[in-house]
């Protein structure tokens, strides 16, 4: 569906994107993941034929987007970060307008608008003026205009930005519903969003692709480093011998117990947290069972044990840090 080769975009002398190369197959749902300013929106706007690339080739559905953007625009639906709405129009008249602009045949227009309203659950507000709708509904209207003409490619730039948790869940459901009918590109800096909706991820940083693949592939590529956070308590009765300095000895004891676990590569400084001690430690594999056994066998109370960050967060932050270091070098 999409072939991108050595694509770059400069604003004046400043590089916003590239050079990047990637391919996206028909029917895939791909997430563009990156911090703010990573180049996600620039990449999507180029694919939506809103921005002309400074260099490189972009092909959508076999059509060159640089030489024939008009033809590519017929095959895409784009929801920018802020939906391009006409506030004074009703939802249905706006969607009819969007369908007309996308060259939908007049005979099909009513049916397609009805389907878009149904898919995005907007039927009840079809006759309402857009300026009377809540932010969540407006976002849905933006999504409806992107799919009303049944494009092969749907591009969604930060589709859940500004939505409340309930609306985010609803928007994710809507995006899930698109997967069967369209190739979908989503940009986000929210890990959970791309993790839950996308088949494959492209991680961007400083305008370059830092990693590409499924969540598991990215994690494997990064050596699967785990960052575990635990909270333990030193029970007074279990302390055994009297300590000269309770706090110092407790720290030493916790560090000693955790450092002895086979596979632990690094143990952080224990920090006092309420009635216990919080410690972060890294390992090359999943050692949660070994850690819990060691803590209990050492006579300590285990209050909490979990990954400090999700696997995807670990991978993402490591990729971004690596990219930043490479850029600085």
């Amino acid at each position: 569906m999409i072939q991108v080769s050595k694509l770059s975009k400069y604003y004046g002398g400043k590089r916003a994107l590239g050079p990047v190369s990637f391919e996206i197959d028909d029917g895939e749902t791909v997430g563009f993941l990156g911090l703010n300013g990573a180049g996600k929106t620039t990449a999507l706007r180029i694919l939506a034929c809103d921005l002309r690339p400074s260099a490189g080739a972009v092909s959508v559905g076999g059509i060159d987007a640089v030489t024939d953007p008009h033809e590519v625009r017929k095959r895409i639906g784009f929801l920018p970060e802020h939906p391009p709405l006409y506030q004074e129009m009703t939802v249905s008249s706006y969607l009819e307008f969007a369908a007309d602009l996308r060259r939908v045949a007049r005979g099909d227009r009513t049916r397609l608008v009805g389907e878009a309203l149904e898919v995005t659950d907007l039927t009840d507000v079809a006759g309402d003026l857009i300026n009377t709708l809540s932010h969540g509904y407006r976002q849905r209207v933006g999504l409806a205009q992107a799919i009303v003409h049944k494009p092969a490619l749907v591009i969604l730039d930060e589709p859940t930005r500004g939505l409340d948790p309930k609306q985010i869940v609803e928007m994710r459901k809507l995006i899930h519903g698109l997967k069967d009918r369209h190739t979908v590109l989503i940009s986000s800096h929210i890990l959970a969003e791309v993790s839950q909706t996308c088949d494959r991820l492209l991680v961007l940083g400083q305008g370059r692709i830092l990693g590409a693949g499924t969540e598991a592939e990215l994690a494997a590529h990064e050596g699967n480093v785990k960052l575990v956070s635990i909270t333990v308590r030193v029970p007074p009765a279990a302390s055994g011998e009297p300590y000269r300095d309770g706090e110092v000895d407790a720290r030493k004891r916790i560090t000693s117990v955790l450092s002895r676990i086979d596979g632990v590569t690094e143990v952080g400084e224990p920090q006092s947290r309420g009635d216990g001690w919080a410690v972060s430690l890294t390992s090359a594999k999943d050692l949660r069972a070994e850690i819990s056994r060691a803590v209990v066998q050492a006579g300590l109370d285990l209050l909490k044990l979990d990954y400090a960050r999700s696997e995807l967060e670990n991978t993402f932050l490591r990729l971004v840090d690596t990219g930043a270091a490479a850029e600085a070098a």
């Binding site: 809103d50 625009r73 017929k74 920018p80 391009p84 969007a98 007309d100 602009l101 060259r103 205009q145």
Partner: protein
């Protein structure tokens, strides 16, 4: 040009629904009535009275055209709705023409509503229907040229107020060309005078009920030039 027709229909619906459009229209009609009352009462000659009506109306038309046109693209750029057009299979010329013809149609409707004033003069005086027609044709051509200038200004700025200042500045400069030309020697004197937006082509022609093809060609050329500038500006901004 199908997209131009689609954009035209949407804009016309906006004029119908928008309070600003209605108020601007009502204000324009009021001012034309006032202009007739103030300037028309200075003379008893019906031909002179008609000329005075067109004189006052030309100022109202230019002001209204700027007001109507500066919104057309600046508002879209400011609100971000231009992205819908930019990412749709719509050519820049279709966007500009759709917007232009909608504003020109709205202007024509308002002018049509004001026709009762010259008809009143005709009923009591000795003017012909062709004088009225030529005067209105001149107002429409002057209005079209001003709309094109306003649309061009609207492509340059995101804020309507900035677009209005740019558009009004271009119009005022073009209105002063005749005065500037008096200080020059031929042939620059004649060239500048012919480029004036109002004095030569409206005041000495259409306003007096005299139709000269060169006046009509001038307004069509100004309209075409600024619409072309608008298309080129949009092209540069859209696919940059």
């Amino acid at each position: 040009m199908r997209a131009a027709a689609i954009i035209f229909r949407r804009e016309m619906a906006t004029y119908r629904q928008s309070l600003v459009g209605r108020i601007a229209g009502a204000l324009a009609l009021l001012l034309m009535g006032v202009a007739f009352q103030v300037f028309g009462s200075k003379t008893q000659l019906s031909g002179e009275m008609l000329s005075q009506f067109f004189w006052g109306s030309s100022g109202v038309v230019m002001g209204l055209a700027i007001l109507l046109s500066v919104r057309l693209l600046a508002e879209e750029q400011q609100s971000g709705s231009i992205l819908l057009l930019n990412t749709s299979p719509v050519r820049e010329s279709e966007i500009v023409l759709g917007k232009f013809f909608s504003a020109a149609t709205y202007l024509a409707i308002l002018l049509a509503v004001s026709v009762y004033i010259p008809l009143l003069i005709k009923s009591e005086g000795k003017i012909t229907g062709s004088q009225i027609f030529v005067g209105y044709l001149g107002l429409m051509l002057l209005g079209s040229a001003t709309l094109a200038i306003g649309i061009f200004a609207s492509t340059l700025a995101r804020q309507q107020i900035v677009a209005a200042v740019i558009g009004a500045t271009i119009v005022v400069l073009m209105l002063l060309l005749y005065q500037f030309s008096r200080k020059l020697d031929p042939p620059m004197r004649d060239i500048l005078a012919e480029l004036d937006l109002w004095w030569i082509h409206f005041q000495q022609g259409f306003m007096k009920g005299v139709f000269n093809l060169k006046d009509a060609v001038y307004y069509v050329a100004v309209t075409y030039f600024f619409l072309l500038c608008s298309v080129k500006t949009l092209e540069m901004k859209r696919w940059q």
